[in-house]
Amino acid sequence: MAYSGKSPWVIHYDGSSCNGCDIEVLATLCPGFDGERFGVVNTGNPKHADIFLVTGSVNEQNIDVVRQIYDQMVEPKVVVACGICACSGGIFHDCYNVIGGVDQAIPVDVYAPGCAVRPETLIDAIVAGVAVLDEKAEKLKSEKKGRA
């Protein structure tokens, strides 16, 4: 069985959000919602993280940063777009510098809409991400076996 889903360590990056979603992401990890019940730990280090929580849209300034963090994460990994700006660009979608949602930069597995995204939605999104994480871990394991 895969253990990835039992220990989803997250890393949080604030793209160009208004900070509303960031506050909600941190609130999710606070005692009131207690993400650690599901093994969620906020890591701050992409090399330790399994789930990448991105808030805010992707723009010319941060697209490289988002890609860099994603590349530094170790497989299996999952990306959750938190908030409507991260999903599609939100109210900033037609700004001159905004490229769009996070999926314009890196593959996104779970979309969690909301303005700002609610902690309940985030927990749901992380739990959905955990299922994807397990799937990817199983795939990685069978690939490893195939190679051996």
Partner: protein, 306 residues
């Protein structure tokens, strides 16, 4: 039995101790880490993770893809783990306490070199801080082993000569804490550094959003990080064993007293971890040396001259 016979017997005991420690310490250490996580959560008014969460974490880390900045880092981490297990085996088989102290220090040094080898600025900063931590606690740890020797000299029924052998506690009339309780308090102080608890978790904190990313383990991922976790479990069991050592005397039944004391010390450390913010390294170094000098120095002087 001649001297050679004793030597062989001691060697066999240590080997058995190392094997037993390698099997049992990760299990006990994992449960202790789980208890730590649950208790910390309860202290913060949360439900917290399942008891076996540290086990799930490590299993997950071993499932991750193998990515490493250089292979030599993994070799150093493995060496650190091996020497920690040897130190634990020496201690729990009743071997030489001084040797145990030296071997566990060697393990710490390997871990520091592992962090330096990645050349990441964050890992290097963590490694530099870890070096300061070793500098801070090492005098007290050495005074602890010397004090143990002097306490056995005072308490052993056949009198006169002390011993560094941990197994000698079973021949004592009273636990060593009656002679060296100031040293015990000093060891409790530096135990916070050794267990990597706040306010002395300078080199690598378990909490995100700090200035050195993840300190020493910044460049360690996947199975390497899993080995680091197992290393900490083993270290924690050994350090709590040192605490328990103060409370064991007479016969094996008193081991229960030692275990209870060690668990109480662990609870106290979790309480401290949850109630104190991190300090600067200057304070850590000064206070740890002051405690070593006062608690250890005075205690040794009293034992030597009175």
């Amino acid at each position: 039995m001649d001297i050679q016979g004793f030597a062989i017997q001691g060697f066999v005991a240590v080997v058995i101790g190392i094997i037993a420690f390698a099997v049992l310490a990760p299990v006990v250490g994992c449960l202790l880490a789980g208890v730590d996580r649950v208790l910390s959560a309860r202290m913060q008014g949360r439900v917290g993770p399942p008891l076996l969460q540290p086990y799930y974490d490590v299993r997950k880390l071993f499932e991750k893809e193998g990515v490493t900045v250089n292979g030599v880092q993994d070799a150093y981490v493995i060496c650190a783990l091996i020497f920690a297990i040897i130190a634990g085996g020496i201690f729990f088989s009743g071997g030489n306490l001084l040797m145990c102290v030296f071997v566990i220090t060697l393990s710490s040094l390997f871990f520091i070199i592992a962090a330096y080898s990645s050349r990441s600025p964050y890992a290097e900063l963590g490694a530099a801080r870890e070096t300061l931590q070793v500098m801070s606690y090492e005098p007290m740890v050495l005074l602890f082993s010397v004090a143990f020797y002097m306490a056995t000299a005072a308490l052993l029924p056949f009198g006169g000569w002390g011993t560094f052998d941990v197994s000698a506690v079973f021949a004592l009339d009273a636990p060593v804490i009656v002679c060296i309780w100031p040293v015990f308090l000093g060891l409790m102080f530096i135990l916070t550094i050794k267990l990597r608890k706040s306010p002395f978790d300078l080199s690598m904190s378990h909490h995100a959003h700090q200035e050195i990313v993840r300190g020493m383990t910044t460049e360690m991922s996947g199975s390497t990080l899993g080995l680091v976790e197992i290393l900490h479990w083993c270290e924690n069991v050994l350090f709590l064993g040192w605490i328990g050592l103060f409370f064991v005397w007479g016969g094996p039944v008193t081991l229960i007293v030692g275990v209870v004391a060690a668990l109480a010390a662990y609870f106290l450390e979790i309480l401290i971890d949850n109630n104190f913010a991190r300090v600067k390294w200057q304070f850590m170094l000064k206070s740890a040396w002051a405690v070593a000098l006062v608690a250890g120095g005075i205690n040794l002087a009293v034992l030597a001259f009175l």
